[in-house]
């Protein structure tokens, strides 16, 4: 039996290098390249033994280390002017490591802040009414992420029974649903996303409604938008006749 394990400890070659530098308590400004290269390769071997997937990035770094190591073995080139110092072959790697370490530091600081939805909370934003559209306010078109997010919220709020068997009664098709949504939107001019799912009690019905919505967006029969970022998603009808035969479902 094959096991594939993904270790998150060394997310990349730089992570592993920083770990080795810390472990050996060596100076990042003066890395003993032979020692570190040797240990780096040992880790790669170990990862192979453990049947871990070694990403290409690790191999690239191994090649870089080998290159630096061989450069360090060479005597300084003869034609270099006296007094002029040779570039340390480790310089580029060192700078890269230092830069990466800085961002790790920032990441730690960010993590230690009081986070929204973890340590502190604001009121959950639910708009029950549809305020009049302000002519001056910029309208943001809702992205697919917003739609999927909104769908997730709908499903969460419905608190659907997870493991119950569904008895197939009369199931509505996406095509029928498209007609239904279109007429509702045209009648009311503007509806909010959540109201599409009112009265729907099974996951099947919700998914059909969502697919119908996506199809209507594709056909440019409706437009979904928000008045401000992460706000309520609203749906309006566009003045276009939809030819049912162009519908995919």
């Amino acid at each position: 039996m094959n096991y594939t394990v993904k270790l998150d400890i060394f997310e990349g070659p730089l992570d592993l290098l920083l770990y080795l530098i810390r472990k050996n308590e060596v100076d990042i400004y003066d890395i003993p390249i032979a020692l570190i290269t040797e240990q780096y390769l040992e880790y790669l071997d170990l990862m192979t033994v453990l049947n871990l997937d070694i990403a290409g990035d690790f191999l690239v770094m191994a090649a870089t280390l080998a290159k630096i190591k061989s450069k360090m073995l060479l005597p300084p080139s003869v034609d270099s002017e006296e007094g002029e110092e040779e570039d340390d072959p480790r310089a580029e790697l060192m700078e890269h490591l230092l830069e990466y370490q800085q961002y790790k530091e920032v990441a730690d600081r960010l993590k230690n802040r009081e986070l929204l939805e973890k340590d502190i909370f604001t009121r959950i934003q639910i708009e029950e009414h549809i305020p009049e559209l302000d002519k001056n306010s910029a309208v943001i078109e809702a992205s697919l992420f917003d739609l999927v997010d909104a769908l997730k919220k709908v499903i969460e709020r419905k608190d659907l029974p997870g493991n119950l068997m569904e008895v197939a009664v009369e199931k509505i098709s996406v095509r029928e649903k498209i007609g239904e949504i279109l007429s509702t939107v045209k009648k009311n001019q503007q509806i909010i996303f959540q109201s599409l799912f009112d009265g729907l009690s099974t996951k099947y019905e919700i998914v059909v409604a969502f697919l119908a919505l996506l199809e209507l967006i594709r056909l440019r029969a409706i437009k979904v938008f928000q008045v401000h970022p992460h706000g309520e998603i609203r749906i309006i009808a566009l003045d276009r006749d939809v030819r049912i035969d162009t519908i995919l479902y």
């Binding site: 070659p13 530091e105 990441a107 929204l116 340590d119 502190i120």
Partner: protein
């Protein structure tokens, strides 16, 4: 005639209502739209007083300055109970996600390739998850070969991490100094 300080008290309560009723952090500009006769400076002063008032009272909520505005929040010590109420798990970001976010925050607008150069690993998945979490967003395309997407942080990022604006992130120089200050400490440990 109305006394000016009474008037100010009233204005303070109006501001309190406005912040409470706002869905997103409320900016001074928005408050000024309602309380037109007050200057921005006066309004800032009143908001400051209001924040202090909440600070001095033993309450479960407070007002914080975040994402260019002001917002009501629950106090951190009650986080557990809110999770109990909402049956939710604490918002969690993995180390790779945080690192990538840090790079985007400091280098924005930045391309995927530039982020990957710093981290030394593929960042496709992490960037996608940051986009889904609305912590970063597309900021156009870079005018180089292939016209790659540029990424930058959102105001949601400021809200989640409780930052007033991007300049309230510690500067890279500060981080460097911090690191150097750490070094002697490490040496002491090894001795």
């Amino acid at each position: 005639m109305e006394q000016p300080n009474v008037h100010n008290e009233k204005a303070k309560y109006i501001i309190e209502c406005l912040i409470f009723a706002s869905e997103v952090p409320l900016t001074i500009e928005k408050i000024k739209d309602v309380l037109e006769d007050k200057s921005k400076k006066e309004l800032k002063e009143l908001v400051k007083e209001l924040i202090e008032d909440y600070h001095n009272l033993e309450r479960g909520i407070f007002i914080r300055e975040v994402a260019h505005g002001y917002q009501f929040c629950t106090k951190p010590e009650y986080a557990q109970l809110i999770h109990k109420l909402r049956k939710s798990k604490p918002y969690h970001l993995t180390q790779p996600t945080l690192e990538t976010l840090a790079i985007v925050a400091y280098k924005q607008p930045v391309t995927k390739a530039e982020v990957e150069l710093v981290r030394g690993v593929d960042c496709t998945g992490v960037l996608k998850s940051l986009l889904e979490k609305k912590l970063i967003t597309f900021q156009g395309r870079k005018d180089v070969l292939g016209r790659p997407f540029l990424y930058g942080t959102t105001s949601r990022f400021l809200e989640v991490f409780g930052l007033t604006d991007l300049s309230s992130l510690p500067s890279i120089e500060e981080i460097k100094q911090l690191k150097e200050a750490d070094l002697p400490l490490l040496e002491q440990e090894t001795q």
